[in-house]
């Protein structure tokens, strides 16, 4: 028994680019938006508000939301970049539904695109954007080495091993191998030895345990009120949302002495994330719990974040999230198909504010229109988790067909 939906997605558009078929973020965003508006059966003049996540890395102009709207010649009553780090893009649906509920908008466009791999040397600039420029950048950390701080503690506290983490990469690649736009599809399915034979990027994380930059993607969703849905629109309903953030830089997190989020655990810790609080809010709003969820799309940029996020979402006890992968629950026949496009580990991470790829995958699966594999049991409810920063922010949506 779910609560009444708070919003409906009535239009969806996606766009893809590769090295051989280069498109920049503006082109990807326009292509996705044109498709989403056509899918919703509305024109750009009916859009009242626009929300994006952070500026794309491949086009780092500030106020990118304004730049896009002006490029489209699409005046709006409100627009903003939402930057709970990468979790902000997931939270755009929450902001859209609040504007709609307040009577301030009839249609809201939620949009993101990026094509980091095609335009940017992300390795060279990576940690400078997400590490403390005063106290951390002077030591040359990379984003994998910052996330690896959590992996090392997770191993230490819960007895997890590299072989365990290999299970996550294998499970995600099983989906990604069959998705036409997954960056690692060309490698086919892999086994644990493949992962453990790959070189370290930053210990204890090996190459197959790290996400790759995957071409470029754009995604656009048209959001409106549940009672504004017309029959042909194949709506996907938003039942609950939540978000939380705890810090910007890891040094700030490590020096926190308390946290108002009840389930965050004792501090210091690197094994609980703000997703715990985001999930609590979303489940409460939807009047659903983990056992009601048929499908999950999560932000797993490094393999240890799979089990950690599964725990934070309530699918496993702390330290046992790996069982969700090991027992095959995330697979095509599982009770919790997860990252059905391969996730960031296999589909790839097109940029820094890139959760629109998982939102699009969710809508496609709930509509029964996947580009890759469909779970054996067609999902009716889905949970989308977005994360951002160095373990900084989490955002959760509960969606239903």
């Amino acid at each position: 028994m779910t609560a009444q939906p708070v919003a409906a997605i009535v239009g969806m558009g996606d766009a893809y680019a590769t090295r051989a078929d280069r498109k920049d973020p503006l082109q990807l965003a326009v292509e996705a938006t044109v498709a989403a508006l056509a899918d919703a059966g509305i024109t750009k003049n009916q859009v009242d508000a626009l929300f994006t996540g952070r500026s794309p890395w491949a086009d780092k102009r500030s106020q990118w939301n304004n730049i896009f709207a002006s490029h489209m010649q699409m005046p709006l009553t409100f627009t903003s970049e939402l930057t709970l780090h990468g979790a902000g893009l997931t939270a755009t649906l929450a902001q859209a539904s609040q504007m709609i509920a307040a009577g301030k908008a009839e249609y809201v466009l939620c949009l993101q695109s990026d094509a980091t791999e095609l335009f940017v040397d992300a390795v060279a600039m990576g940690a400078e954007a997400d590490a403390d420029p005063q106290f951390e950048v002077i030591y040359g950390p990379t984003i994998p080495s910052l996330y690896a701080q959590a992996a090392r503690r997770y191993f230490h506290e819960f007895g997890i091993t590299e072989t365990d983490l290999a299970e996550v990469a294998v499970a995600n690649q099983r989906w990604g191998a069959h998705h036409p736009h997954a960056a690692k599809a060309k490698h086919g399915e892999i086994d644990i030895a493949t992962v453990l034979d790959s070189p370290y990027v930053a210990t204890p994380l090996r190459r197959w345990m790290c996400s790759t930059w995957g071409g470029g993607t754009g995604g656009a969703l048209v959001v409106t009120a549940p009672d504004n849905v017309r029959p042909h629109q194949k709506p996907v309903y938003l039942h609950g949302y939540g978000s939380a953030t705890t810090h910007e830089y890891l040094s700030d997190r490590m020096n926190m002495r308390g946290c108002k989020f009840a389930d965050f655990g004792t501090l210091p810790n690197l094994t609980h994330t703000a997703t715990i609080e985001a999930a609590r809010q979303a489940y409460a709003m939807a009047e659903l719990g983990p056992s009601d969820i048929d499908m999950v799309q999560v932000s797993v940029n490094f393999a240890h974040m799979g089990p950690i996020v599964m725990e934070d979402l309530g699918f496993a006890k702390k330290g046992r999230g790996i069982d969700v992968y090991r027992e095959g629950r995330t697979g095509i026949d599982g009770d919790l198909p997860t990252d059905t496009n391969g996730g960031w580990l296999s589909f790839g991470q097109p940029g820094i504010s890139c959760n629109m790829d998982t939102l699009i995958e969710t809508v496609r699966q709930l509509r029964g229109q996947p580009l890759g594999l469909a779970p054996t049991r067609k999902p009716e409810t889905a949970l989308v988790q977005g994360a951002g920063g160095m373990l900084a922010a989490g955002s959760v949506l509960v969606l239903a067909a």
Partner: protein
């Protein structure tokens, strides 16, 4: 994004005013941190007001430079040429004896570093700035 300035290719700290005494003390090879006179907590990174009790009574104190490894990762792929030239190198959090967590380089490879291991500070010059790095404490 704020730009850090580089000096002989080493990135230099993006200096904020709260931390000016920290960088000045490092030039004398002294490692310092703040302590709140009201709640007695060690405060790090540098602040104007205590993040725990909002007091402005923050005093600079000298650290003995000893702590234990909380977590660490050895970078195999350096982000820029200057970092690539010293790979592999290890970065991590040191739980300082005075009660704060300091991010730094920890000297040694993954086989020679362990969580909870004792480490002690030493100072290196990187470009125009002296910075603290940590090395395994001498057991004797």
């Amino acid at each position: 994004m704020s730009e850090t300035t580089a000096h002989n290719d080493w990135p230099q700290p993006y200096r904020l005013l709260d931390a000016a005494p920290y960088w000045a003390a490092l030039d004398e090879q002294r490692l310092t941190f703040q302590r709140c006179a009201d709640c007695a907590e060690a405060v790090w990174p540098a602040h104007s007001y205590c993040p725990y009790c909002a007091s402005s009574a923050l005093n600079w104190a000298e650290s003995a430079g000893r702590g234990t490894v909380y977590s660490f990762s050895t970078v195999m792929r350096g982000p820029t040429p200057v970092w690539a030239s010293i790979t592999p190198y290890t970065v991590g959090f040191v739980q300082m004896a005075e009660g704060y967590m300091l991010f730094a380089q920890i000297e040694g490879g993954p086989e020679s570093i362990a969580i909870d291991q004792d480490v002690t500070v030493r100072f290196v010059e990187r470009g125009a700035q002296t910075i603290p790095v940590f090395t395994a404490a001498n057991p004797g």
